[in-house]
């Protein structure tokens, strides 16, 4: 008897844990107490109830149900209420085929840089990759996928999600391995696309029944220890620009000022020119006027001008010496220590007469 009960219990546990009739122990007790015939009836009733319960199933909107008859896949059911042969003839496995799931491939770059890879290779960051130019890049990414074919997903591969992770890593590394660090840092979308294509074809080849919706790249970068030197380049670039700006500033300060100064010089020369010409014209006009009058009476005008000029000049002079034309030597008579212009007004005379 015990065997039958175990079987039944196992079956119930297996099928539907929460629906275990709560009065099981009660039935058991009653069974022991009652007569044999009644017990049989109860057993049959319970078995029938369980058979009835395992003869239908409900598939949610996001799911598809895979039905196996004695282990063999016979049909796949869409969402809704369905009938089936009771356990153990047919079994149902429901698979979520609508909802997208994500697998994340990332880790802190700093952690890896600090960690000792030689001692504990397993802690190596999933994102640390060798690039096509033999540099090291940090490439974190996310795979979004859903089950496209529940039959393949269930039956073809032992561990479809593990396979997805392995293939995702090898696909991404293959893509990264064929690109240089520049492309990895700058062309993320292109890498995501290439990796997605690669991964999808691998998953298809492996018959996983998984459809990759999208691979999303997070920020790709260089490893932590290298990062400061990249920042240093940015800083140097800014310094360069600053130096250029400073020089330009200086240029822009000096040149307009010089242009102004040059303009002033030219303007001054123009002023000079005007001044010079106007004065010349003035002088000429004056001369011409005087000349006109002079022409009318040359002798008298000449004498007048001469005498007027002398009259004007002589009183202003510091010292005037009048020497007689017979005076032979005038040196003894002169004190030439005083500053001023000495004009020998006439050829040396023989006699001199000093006058203050």
């Amino acid at each position: 008897m015990a065997w039958d009960w175990d079987k039944l219990k196992e079956q119930q546990n297996h099928r539907n844990r929460e629906r275990i009739p709560p009065q099981m122990d009660e039935i058991l007790d009653r069974f022991r107490g009652t007569n044999f015939k009644g017990a049989w009836l109860i057993i049959v009733a319970v078995i029938l109830a369980l058979l009835a319960y395992s003869s239908f199933y409900i598939v949610n909107a996001q799911q598809e149900a895979v039905i196996q008859r004695f282990g063999k896949h016979v049909r796949t059911a869409v969402p809704g209420f369905h009938l089936k042969w009771p356990y153990p003839v047919e079994t149902v496995t429901k698979v979520n085929v609508r909802e997208y799931q994500t697998e994340v491939f990332e880790g802190a770059a700093e952690q890896v840089a600090a960690g000792d890879y030689t001692r504990d290779p397993d802690t190596a960051n999933v994102t640390l990759m060798l690039t096509g130019d033999l540099n090291v890049a940090v490439v974190p990414w996310i795979v979004q996928y859903r089950v496209e074919d529940p039959v393949k997903f269930l039956f073809r591969v032992n561990d479809p999600i593990g396979t997805l992770r392995d293939l995702a890593e090898s696909s991404m590394r293959q893509v990264v391995g064929d690109r240089n660090i520049d492309e990895i840092i700058i062309r993320r979308e292109e890498i995501a696309k290439a990796a997605q294509e690669r991964l999808q074809s691998e998953l298809k080849e492996a018959d996983t029944g998984i459809l990759v919706k999208e691979i999303t790249m997070k920020t790709t970068t260089v490893p932590g220890p290298v990062q400061p030197s990249f920042n240093e380049v940015n800083r140097a670039r800014q310094e360069k620009e600053q130096m250029i700006y400073e020089a330009k500033e200086q240029y822009n300060k000096a040149i307009p000022a010089a242009l102004g100064e040059a303009d002033r010089t030219v303007k001054m020369s123009e002023g000079y020119a005007l001044d010079r010409i106007n004065r010349a014209r003035g002088d000429a006009a004056r001369f011409t006027s005087v000349l006109t009058e002079y022409k009318k009476a040359p002798e008298i005008t000449r004498t007048r001008i001469y005498l007027e000029s002398m009259h004007d000049i002589l009183p202003r002079l510091g010292k005037t010496a009048v020497i007689d034309d017979k005076q032979k030597s005038l040196l003894p008579l002169l004190d030439l220590s005083g500053r001023g212009t000495v004009l020998p007004a006439a050829p040396p005379a023989a006699k001199a007469e000093a006058k203050k």
Binding site: G71, P228, E239, I244, A258, L317, T341
Partner: protein
């Protein structure tokens, strides 16, 4: 409860047990090797569904039919150029001959040990017989240099080319291992390199190289900045000289022209009577240049004094 009933119940149970032992269910994921008293009986059962055997004499051994994983332990392997790298591989395989498989290994756990024993050296051999680049790159696709900072430096060096590439290296591993695994009824579907990373010391030197490259670029920028700033200052100096000299030139030209015009005005005017000009100009000169500091020595012989000694005209 009488003895008759008990006997009936025992018989029913015995029949049920026998019936239960005679049937077995093969899942989509499974295949079965049936043995009869220890010896393999008939072909393997690969078709899922309900199957029968003779109770107590025949035994069903369930083996997986679907694709199985093998995840290698990461190992340190030197490449052809003796760079030590960590290589982490994985493989996928299936039991293609369940009977051979069952006879040679028996269980998946045992089989995985065999797979490890065979794939590990194959990986080691393949990696060690190629330069690192061959296991990194798959194709010789031209890598575009997008970093303006290093364009000049990088474009100068040729891009590493591969002769075989990762896919072929992996193919070679697979080929080498597959042949040996066939004997275990195992079909190796593929072997893939999951991760390749530098060993720490190598990685540090790669980082060093990357840092050095960046520093070089930074220095390049700084000196470019200095150079360009000097160039701008030079331009400025030149421009200043040009502006100043052009201004000087223009000014002198204008002044010269003015001087010339003035000269011509003077010449035109004074030319009418040079003597008179000479006379008047001399008067002006005397008036302007003689002052109280001047000592003038005049001879009575001069015109000024013609009436000094006499009242008669000379």
């Amino acid at each position: 409860m009488n003895a008759k009933h008990v006997a009936a119940a025992i018989i029913v149970v015995a029949v049920l047990v026998a019936a239960y032992s005679a049937i077995y269910v093969v899942d989509e994921r499974e295949q079965v090797v049936v043995t009869q008293l220890g010896a393999v009986k008939g072909p393997a059962v690969t078709e899922p569904g309900l199957h029968f055997l003779i109770p107590f004499i025949q035994t069903a051994h369930f083996l997986p039919k679907n694709l199985l994983q093998w995840d290698g332990e990461p190992g340190e392997i030197p490449t052809a150029e003796k760079t030590l790298i960590w290589v982490d591989t994985f493989a996928r395989w299936r039991i293609y001959d369940p009977i051979v498989f069952w006879q040679s290994t028996g269980t998946v756990e045992n089989a995985l040990l065999r797979v490890t024993e065979i794939i590990d050296p194959a990986v080691r051999n393949a990696i060690a017989s190629y330069p690192l680049i061959e296991t990194i790159r798959t194709t010789n696709r031209s890598m575009e240099i997008l970093d303006e900072d290093v364009k000049e430096v990088r474009e100068a060096e040729p891009q590493a080319q591969v002769r075989v590439g990762r896919r072929q290296v992996m193919g070679q591993i697979k080929q080498a291992a597959d042949a040996s695994l066939k004997g275990f009824g195992i079909e190796l579907v593929d072997v893939k390199i999951k991760r390749i990373n530098y060993r720490k010391d190598v990685r540090d030197s790669v980082y060093g190289r990357m840092i050095a490259e960046r520093n070089q670029i930074a220095e390049k920028y700084r000196s470019e900045g200095k150079g360009e700033a000097s160039k701008i200052r030079g331009d400025m100096e030149k421009e200043l000289k040009r502006i100043q000299s052009e201004a000087y030139w223009k000014a002198q030209e204008k002044m010269g022209k003015a001087d010339a015009e003035a000269a011509s005005v003077y010449a035109e005017a004074y030319g009418r009577d040079p003597d008179f000009y000479d006379f008047t100009r001399s008067m002006d000169l005397f008036r302007d240049s003689l002052n109280k500091d001047t000592t003038l020595i005049l001879s009575t012989d001069s015109d000024l004094f013609q009436y000094f000694k006499t009242n008669k005209p000379r």
